[in-house]
């Protein structure tokens, strides 16, 4: 730890965030993340656009109806993801005809019977954006492995790291590349959320601009923070394994593996659901919770998990043969 130098880490992070596109993994991540993020948004936005086209009259009273109709559509996604309802219950609640459900008379806000969290996401915040965030929260941890799997393993395998070690210490390389990966991931996250928010604000115009901007900033910060533990996990894997391909496979086995094991395991034995807490899967949606305490705990959780994954990786990298 004494050998760490802030200026070295900063330089390595800067060049790594630039080099990552040249190396291919950054480019693959950029394309996959953008396509995944925008397609997810498109799937949720498309029915709303069709509905608005049918309505034609987008007066203020109609806008309120449209917002309530969107709540009806996004309700199953949000309630399932937050664990309020099971998959079976959500299936029973799903409308047979999407467009007719949207056109039907909306339910009054106070008689919707939502719990506090669902109500916060669907009624108090732009529901469409909330549903998009929940999908991004679920999908982006898988996508980020395309960016973070090769922080060190490729250079360890090619022995290229030895040239860099003539000029700086191992710790600086480890933390510098970790920070560089975070910078790139954050920029891509910002781009995705900016495009979606801009589109909602300029094309659909169903939510007040300030409400959209405020909620998108919250979502951006939450998603960027959520990426930290997953990138740290990939840093640890990458520091431990020589082959970038093997590092990629292991990261892609662990991240979905924890989720799948918990989902299947709980059927056999209920406490197995806690396997989810080995990674942020178990609590990550609390980054969108209305209670500041939940939010703070989730934020701390991100930082603690990041440290838990990052430090063993650092010690492995310090001691290993290069």
């Amino acid at each position: 730890m004494e050998t760490l130098s802030a200026s070295h880490i900063r330089i390595i992070a800067y060049y790594w965030s630039r080099y990552i596109v040249r190396s291919g993994s950054g480019l693959a991540y950029l394309m996959i993340a953008l396509i995944f993020g925008l397609f997810s948004a498109q799937i949720l936005i498309m029915p709303v656009e069709k509905f608005i086209q049918q309505k034609q009259d987008v007066s203020e009273s109609n806008l309120q109806n449209i917002r309530y109709s969107i709540i009806n559509i996004e309700k199953p996604i949000v309630q399932y993801v937050l664990g309020v309802k099971s998959f079976k219950e959500v299936g029973q609640d799903l409308p047979n005809d999407l467009m007719n459900t949207m056109i039907s008379k909306p339910v009054a806000e106070d008689s919707m019977g939502f719990d506090r969290w669902t109500s916060f996401l669907l009624v108090k915040r732009p529901a469409l954006l909330s549903a998009i965030f929940l999908i991004l929260f679920f999908g982006m941890p898988f996508v980020v492995t395309y960016l973070a799997f090769n922080q060190l393993s490729g250079d360890v395998q090619s022995r290229g790291l030895r040239y860099l070690l003539l000029k700086t210490e191992r710790g600086n390389i480890y933390f510098g590349r970790f920070l560089g990966t975070i910078v790139f991931s954050t920029l891509v996250t910002a781009l995705i959320i900016a495009v979606i928010t801009f589109y909602l604000a300029m094309k659909l115009r169903i939510y007040p601009a300030m409400s959209l901007i405020g909620w998108s900033l919250h979502g951006f910060m939450a998603l960027s923070l959520l990426m930290l533990p997953y990138i740290a996990l990939c840093a640890m894997i990458s520091a431990s394994i020589d082959s970038p391909m093997l590092s990629f496979v292991v990261a892609n086995l662990i991240i979905p593996g924890v989720l799948i094991t918990a989902a299947i395991g709980r059927i056999a034995w209920a406490p197995l659901k806690y396997i989810n807490y080995l990674l942020p899967w178990g609590w990550q949606n609390h980054l969108l919770h209305p209670s500041p305490i939940h939010l703070l705990m989730a934020l701390l959780g991100c930082l603690v998990y990041t440290a838990i994954f990052l430090m063993p990786g650092y010690y492995i990298f310090e001691k290993r043969d290069l």
Binding site: V21, R22, S23, G24, S25, G26, L27, A28, L30, M31, L34, I35, L38, F39, A41, Q42, I45, E49, V195, I196, Y199, K203
Partner: protein, 152 residues
Amino acid sequence: MDDKKRPGGLTALAVINFIFAGFDVIGVIGLTVSMTMLGKLPTDGMTAAQKAQIQELQNIDPSIFTVNIGINVIFFVLLLLSGIGYLNQKKSLGRMVGNIYGALGVIGVIAIATIFPQEVGGGFGIMSIIGIIYPALTLILLNTTFKDDLIN
């Protein structure tokens, strides 16, 4: 300089080119089938709304389909050639054709969004943004990150 090692990003760019070229082939096949089958569709068991939708499609000027197919074919050729150019790090086939694809791609998406009817992919939506991302990215990368890699 001639045997400069190809960066992984350039290989990735070529692979993505080939994938998108494949999508263009699918687009050409889909549009050709739509164009030829549209007049022959039996509408007996359809609802009034479905019939109206088919009628709307049949009313579209066939030349729009032809132009759309033409655009797809041009993009297919440009993507394929520039992809080969990236792999061989060719200045003309890689950088020049890639830049032409980038510029035409951005213009093409904007033109399709503004000129074509929605039934054949017109109208500005998130899909247009997705369509514009790759050509724009190609333009940026070829003239910044990979500027000195296409030298043969």
